[in-house]
């Protein structure tokens, strides 16, 4: 439990980032929603269009909305120049503000529509101008309802802000995502608890303001307002400085290996005197674009991923040639420097329980074809959409009885519990050895290679000092070493390590220190 307290108190900077982000998003939402509500109260068409738009936005999953702002902002660079940030605070702010729009707008419009017509007639009758009517009558009478909308929006936004981790904005989602990937439930719990507590406190304070406005108790809503303002000011003061130009930003995707490698790279650079910052748990699709646009300085990506996702190729020229083509393409197309391969592959492979494979007499995908119709295959959420899956189906004529999606973490559990017979495993995964799994051979070479590569953004591509500090990592890690480090993070119980500790152990193993 002292461990838990330590983690919880260590979340200070995530909490302040979370508060600043959520407060800004709600502030922006209010700034847009209120004038829009006034306009909507004067025009039925505007009301329809504005509410329709806000409802439509609400139907987009928050995660998708956040991710959508990356390409939008990227294309807006044509207008606003290269300085426009495409990751981090700006897209998170815009997406969350859009999300906050609906409850505020809807309550404001409803409050206006429900105002006593007699009171409005009196306002006109006594000779109020439109502005006076708004200021003296409509606004004060709508205020409690608008406040209720702001309250709803705030609770939503504080919850949804945890998802901004996936687009590189630090928040209380950082411990949640990191914990989910590394099966560190203490971390998950700490993140959830902090986020929920923040939401409850804000809800209570805004509730105080709402009741103060409704019952016309001036001290009550002013006290609530002051408390909220103090919280935001406190967070802003605590959040020192912001990004330094010289800080090296290291990305990781949402799985343990990525967290470990980011830490490994980070400690290597810190030893060389660099200041580093981590953007953990980014969406896989976001990372490549982020490096290409220099929003991120360093990432680890895989040849097979770039080959299919970015080069849009489906052929398989073989491991070495694929790497060379990608290296040239990255340099020419994006200015991204592929510094080299780390030495191991994290490829897709079909894995089974040893006893089950023996029972069915399977050693390769060729053997699997005949029994596949009686079996269930499990894959990560993107696998069945990927060209690898299509390639395997076409190369072998593979047809499974059932296909099921699992999160990467639970996929292995599904195999052990028998919910899946075959899974699309990752070759560097520590659980292959730990769970005594058999990796089926791929004699027709349908599955492309997935060499881990060190990618450097155009901004840092020619930084000799940086390159020199990273050079020792090239070709340094073999697949057994990576599996061991991954398993140390993924495992349960004794021997479970944080990514940082596993990275330190890995560094020792490969002789860096």
């Amino acid at each position: 439990m002292s461990d838990f307290a330590e983690i919880l108190f260590g979340l200070g900077d995530k909490l302040t980032a979370h508060i600043v982000l959520a407060a800004s998003a709600i502030g922006l939402g209010i700034a847009v929603a209120l004038p829009l509500a006034v306009w909507a109260s004067r025009s039925r068409t505007v009301a329809k269009v504005a509410l329709g738009f806000a409802s439509l936005v609400q139907t987009i999953p928050a995660l998708a909305l956040l991710a959508l702002f990356f390409p939008i902002l990227l294309s807006l660079r044509a207008v606003f120049g290269e300085g426009l940030p495409t990751l981090g605070f700006l897209p998170a702010l815009l997406a969350l503000a859009l999300y906050a729009l609906l409850p505020i707008l809807r309550n404001a419009v409803t409050a206006q529509a429900n105002l006593d017509p007699g009171v409005l007639e009196a306002a006109d009758g006594v000779g109020m101008t439109g502005w006076q009517k708004l200021r003296l009558v409509e606004a004060p009478l709508s205020a409690p309802f608008i406040m209720a909308g702001i309250r709803t929006a705030s609770v939503w936004t504080i919850g949804a802000a945890t998802l901004s981790t996936t687009i590189g904005q630090p928040s209380l989602g950082d411990p949640i995502f990191a914990g989910l990937q590394t099966q560190n439930w203490t971390l998950v719990l700490a993140g959830c608890l902090a986020s929920a507590a923040l939401a409850l406190i804000v809800d209570a304070l805004l509730g105080l303001i709402e009741r103060g406005l409704a019952t016309r108790q001036r001290w009550q809503w002013i006290a609530g307002l002051i408390a909220v303002a103090l919280g935001i000011i406190g967070a802003l003061t605590y959040q020192s400085g912001g990004d330094d130009e010289d800080t090296i930003i290291i990305a990781s995707k949402q799985f343990s290996e990525q967290y470990i490698l980011a830490q490994l790279i980070g400690s290597q650079l810190e030893a060389a005197g660099f200041v580093v910052e981590y953007r953990d748990g980014l969406g896989s699709a976001v990372v490549h674009n982020a490096v290409a646009s220099s929003a991120i300085d360093i990432s680890v990506d895989y040849t097979g991923t770039i080959w299919t996702n970015n080069l849009k190729r489906t052929d398989n020229p073989g491991r070495e040639e694929m790497y060379q083509i990608i290296k040239t393409w990255e340099a020419e197309e994006n200015g991204v420097r592929v510094l080299g391969r780390l030495g191991f592959e994290n490829a897709y492979a079909f894995a089974m329980r040893e006893d089950r494979a023996a029972q069915l007499g399977l050693t390769s995908l060729d053997d699997l074809v005949t029994v596949a119709p009686q079996l269930t295959v499990g894959g990560d959420p993107e696998f069945f959409e990927r060209p690898e899956w299509i390639a395997v189906r076409e190369a072998y004529g593979m047809r499974f009885g059932e296909t099921r999606n699992f999160s990467p973490t639970f996929m292995y559990n599904a195999l052990t519990s028998g919910e899946a017979d075959v899974i699309s495993a990752y070759t560097s995964d520590g659980r292959i050895a730990a769970d005594k799994l058999v990796v089926l051979e791929d004699p027709r070479e349908a599955l492309p290679s997935y060499d881990a590569m060190l990618m450097i953004s155009p901004r840092r591509a020619n930084d000799a000092e940086l390159i020199a500090a990273l050079q020792p990592l090239i070709g340094a890690i073999n697949v057994e070493q990576m599996r061991e480090a991954n398993f140390a993070v993924d495992r349960e119980g004794e021997g479970k390590l944080s990514p940082k500790r596993a990275a330190a152990q890995l560094a020792e193993e490969i002789g860096l220190n």
Binding site: D116, P117, G118, V119, L120, E121, A122, A123, D124, G125, V126, G127, M128, T129, Q132, L136, V137, P140, L141, R216
Partner: protein, 270 residues
Amino acid sequence: MQTPSNLRKPPKRAEAISTAPLLTFDATTRHYGDVIAVSAVSCEIAEGSFVALVGASGSGKSTLLKMVNTLEAPSAGRVLFTGDDVTNQPPAQLRRRIGYVFQGIGLFPHMSVAENIAIGPRLAGESLTAGRIGELLEQVEMEADMAARMPDELSGGQRQRVGVARALAIEPELLLMDEPFGALDPITRDALGETVRDLHDRLGLTTIMVTHDMAEALLLADRVIVMDAGAIVADCSPHDLLAGQGGEIAQGLVAVPRQQAEKLAAMERE
């Protein structure tokens, strides 16, 4: 209820007033699509008069009234107030010269009685003293210490008294009343009617009151205009109406309170 016998004498004030009318309807017309609410009404209202606009629901009397303070805009024709077309001036400026009391009352629920009464002067950038607010409350027969109350602490009759005080606070050149007592119980209604008539006389007001109740019109006004289907069908003094003038529709409306009064008198004799 008062009986027709203590009916007010024909107007004293009207003859004494200058010839220029305070208010002129000049072929004033209002239609909503194909529906005609007010059809080319022309008439003049002299300063100092108390005019009742009477008619059944949908006769256009409220619409005609609201075209004076431009809550409704004429589709054709004009309304002249002190000689100027009302649509040619900023609505807010015009309405700060005209008191408006209506059935919905419309007290601002978030303002105290004092703030409600002071709203008109406040809009014009002036503030009322507590003494003046007390005086206005007294005029509508309320205690001065009601000033601090909120509207939801008042009875319906008290609210409308505050509504009248609010209209009087601007020292209006014209007082418009749209079914002002329509939502009140008969006793309150009668008392408030008396209050308004007394104020009219005491303050030298010009008052136009819309009502569907002919008895109320006969008892309070010194000129009764009867409307039907958007047009004026009778325009005479209460005395002339009771004497049988004004035509069939007007007499139909007069017949109701008269028969009620006769029945009540007959019952008393039994």
